[in-house]
Amino acid sequence: MKIAAGQTDALARELPKAGEKFAPLPFGPCNMDELRRYALVSGDDNPIHLDPELARRAGLPAPPVHGMLLMSRLLPALAIWRPDLKIVRLSNKFLRPIFVNETGEFSGRIAQVTPGDSSGSPAKILLRLMMHTERRELALLAEAMTILKPGA
């Protein structure tokens, strides 16, 4: 990650603390209309998300919400938790599906904080983010590398 103008200012600012937990935030439910609209704008028209019969043939009780829709909705959650952080890398594992018309819950914490240095390398804040289904199963596990937004 290259340093943009203003990012070195972040070196002098107070960094988040490892272990800080984020208050859970609700997700959904998403209905079939939302899945159809997301399929249209994302290009992910995989019928398993749109066709209940195909989902059943694949062994699922209902169409699952697109994993990428879950991943996308993580970002507004982070903006609520820590609007001063900017994601530069995000890795997600989709462990269990969230089905159409189901709710979920985002949560997370600051896992690691690496201070910036005098060479211009910015502080790096590693987050562990999760989403649970309404059955309290872990649906999504993510790791996000963030930096402080310039001027935040």
């Binding site: 990650m1 704008v41 290009g43 992910d44 995989n46 398993i48 996308s72 890398r89 995000l90």
Partner: protein, 147 residues
């Protein structure tokens, strides 16, 4: 995919893959697609941001490049590598690593390696997107489920 244009190609490539040794008679286990020209048109970005609950402020949402993974040439490569009559891909994991943010209404080049794993049955798609310099790398892992 209105914002992607062709001009790419599909070429066999050599990659280490998990699972048993490849059967040469069965064809390549990975293909390189591209470079493809991709673009985040402002209207598509706004529509995507609306559904992703991202700010509609002209910036390209972090996950927007997933849209480019549905390019017909990438789908064709996946179909070529999966020797199963009826199947659906199930998204197992996804990552994006940015060197810098994408901008709207600018052409980027995307090269993507589509890699077949047999046990378990998966497709792994690794993309590099940039202009004169790299902009981001993305990886998508899809589990292949027969239907």
């Amino acid at each position: 995919m209105a914002e992607t244009t062709s001009g790419g190609s599909i070429q066999p490539i050599q990659h280490p893959v998990a699972g048993p040794a490849p059967d040469k008679a069965a064809g390549p286990l990975s293909l390189r697609v591209g470079p493809l020209t991709v673009r985040a048109d402002a209207a598509d970005v706004a529509a995507f941001a609306q559904e992703a609950a991202a700010p509609i402020d002209g910036t390209v949402p972090f996950t927007f490049p997933v849209r480019w993974f549905s390019h017909p040439e990438i789908r064709a490569a996946g179909t070529k590598l999966v020797d199963c009559e009826a199947w659906v891909p199930i998204h197992e994991s996804q990552s994006f690593a940015y060197d810098r943010p994408l901008a709207t209404d600018i052409n980027y080049q995307m090269t993507i390696d589509v890699i077949r794993e047999l046990e378990p049955s998966r497709l792994i798609l690794r993309a590099e997107i940039g202009d004169a310099d790299p902009c981001l790398r993305a990886e998508m892992v899809l589990r292949i489920i027969a239907t």
